[in-house]
């Protein structure tokens, strides 16, 4: 009789799909909206500096920490926790809180153009909406978890103890961490490469150089994702290749790929395939499931109030979609133009 219990079904396929899609929804975050992302995906956002990469991460974090609904207003968020590992150490919390405030006000007031007018017209209106916004604002900000890492040792120490931290936060808040944001993954690249890679006590001892650090990072992230399914988004600063440089004078990417044979995989030799110079070791590149390239353009977008705002282009490299999206960064966040 006991063995028959194994054959009784738990749920039908349709029920399972419903459950999974509710608990682990697809996220469509501008400007990454062309490819739906869910937990278990590891997205790499590549681009030169500056190109709004951090803003994309902030956008994802805000979408994650806003609740789906609060006091009758639909905010369209997930109501989960977001973790931000700041390896660049340049994060500006004031900018983050401004963006969060604007998103809250935009959702509460219905449309963004209304928000712009209201900000200009009356402070009194803001005063009346402020009390309930403050409570929501505070509860959202508390769902944003932040840590800085000044070198690879601190980064590794953070990753090693992340499992316990995630468990603790789940107990404190009652919700899971849905997104893990890393800004930026190549931050300690030169420092790690510069540290000596010779081993001291024979070959049995590993030292903290680029290859071992990256392997450990990848290993820790893989193990974490087994137990705590999350969406991982990492930015990476890269130098753009000839395809996008302003001066098409030299075709020297062949010499680039010949130099770092030890650390970078040789991207294919065709002209069209090399948009930027890859410097992360192959073990990291094999972890990535999605990759998007962002960069600035010279074209300026004229906003309604005659403001020139910088336009950015985004292009999916993995999965390779042959389309380029334009977006700008406004007060309410990333706004896709085309």
């Amino acid at each position: 009789m006991g063995s028959k219990a194994w054959l009784v079904e738990d749920e039908s396929a349709r029920e399972m799909l419903d459950r999974v899609l509710t608990e682990r929804p697809f996220l469509l975050l501008p400007p990454l909206h062309r490819v739906p992302l869910r937990v278990g995906n590891i997205v790499e956002i590549v681009g030169p500096s500056p190109s709004a990469k951090t803003h994309i991460l902030i956008q994802a974090a805000i979408t994650c920490i806003l609740p789906r609904q609060w006091k009758g207003v639909n905010y369209g968020g997930l109501g989960h926790l977001a973790m931000f590992l700041d390896l660049d150490c340049r994060f500006d919390i004031s900018r983050f809180s401004d963006l969060l405030n604007h998103r809250i006000m935009e959702a509460a007031n219905g449309s963004s153009s209304e928000v712009d007018c209201q900000i200009k017209e009356s402070e009194a209106q803001n005063a009346t909406t402020k009390p309930y916004n403050e409570e929501l604002f505070a509860s959202c900000m508390r769902r944003f978890l932040y840590i800085r890492c000044y070198d690879s040792s601190e980064f590794l120490a953070t990753l090693k103890t992340l499992h316990y931290r995630l468990q603790k936060e789940r107990e404190t808040h009652g919700v899971n961490v849905h997104v893990l944001l890393i800004d930026s993954i190549g931050a300690f690249h030169w420092i790690d490469r510069g540290s000596s890679s010779f081993s001291l006590e024979g070959d049995t001892r590993k030292s903290l150089h680029l290859q071992s650090v990256t392997e450990t990072v990848v290993q820790e992230i893989r193990k974490l994702l087994l137990v705590h399914p999350m969406l991982v988004m990492a930015t990476k600063a890269a130098v753009l290749g000839n395809r996008y440089s302003m001066n098409d004078s030299k075709r020297n990417y062949r010499t680039w790929s010949a130099k770092d044979n030890l650390h970078s995989r040789n991207v294919t030799s065709s002209d069209q395939q090399v948009p930027y110079r890859e410097y992360m070791p192959a073990v990291w590149q094999s972890l990535i499931t999605h990759r998007i390239l962002v960069r600035t353009t010279d074209a300026d977008f004229v906003n309604g109030e005659h403001q020139n705002v910088s336009t950015y282009l985004s292009e999916w490299l993995l999965p390779p979609l042959n389309s380029v999206d334009k977006f700008i960064v406004r007060d309410t966040g990333v706004f896709v133009l085309s």
Binding site: S94, R95, R143, Y146, L156, K160, T161, R205, T216
Partner: protein
Amino acid sequence: MAPLKNLETEYPIIDSNFQNFCASHGIFSVEDFLIHDLYMLAAFAEQNVSSERLKEGITQILSIIDDMHQPWLNGMELLEDAKRNKHFLPTGIQGVDLLLGGGIRVGQLTELVGPSASGKTQVCLQTASNVARNYMMLYLDTGNSFSPQRIAYFLGKTNELASAQAKNQILQKVMSNILCHSVFDIFAMFDVLHQLESNLRCQERGGGCRIRLLIVDSISLLIAPVLGGTSTRGRALMASAGYLLKKLAHQHNLAVLVINHTVGSEGGTSKPALGDSWKSIPHSRLLLSCDRGSNVYNVSILKHPSMVCWG
């Protein structure tokens, strides 16, 4: 990289048995634990005779590793810290203060780029004289460009209506608030900064007048000689310097201003020196230029955390 046996007095669970077990897996210090798989190690410990004690030892090591990173903060705590500590330090130069929304931001690394003789040192001296009225500051001088006479001149200009005695008092106060060090290579700068870091950590417990501004004039003179063509050491030093400055800025609430010069790039234009690896290190970058004919100085933003640069 202290060896494990140094921990034995403080944590008796890390006894010689544990140390031998770790040594057999190539682990000799806490840092080695960072690049080894701890779950695998625990699995190996299972097969050992004293598995319980070994696993307790591994748990102890994990709690030591937990102290090796910065503390976790949530958004509200970060915002509180920013509001309480991360103010703007006005430079006294109207154009720069307007552009930056109040002045140089405490907690951030601001870079001032400009071709030679575009007034970079003048901006530094003016900022120094303005900030030193109220706070102490440290001026790292790489090219013997610090001039007390100029500081006195700037002070004199802004205090024209004060009496001679009041002017003298302000001058004395400002001069005693500025600490000037000459550094001529990057290692000397690291020395000074590490000394500063330990001083600040002691002062935090004792109170007293603390440094609020750090100016490095100019950091490109220190870094450029070590940046070779193919060697990675130079870039590693540059990145480490950048991170040390950012750490000082954030943890000890300093505003850091560094000076960089420009080099020529393709097409005849000029670009900031130190290359692409340095580009992403400062929080904000300002470009200073001087129009010789009209003697007008222009400041524009190349990069800023919350403002967009045009062109």
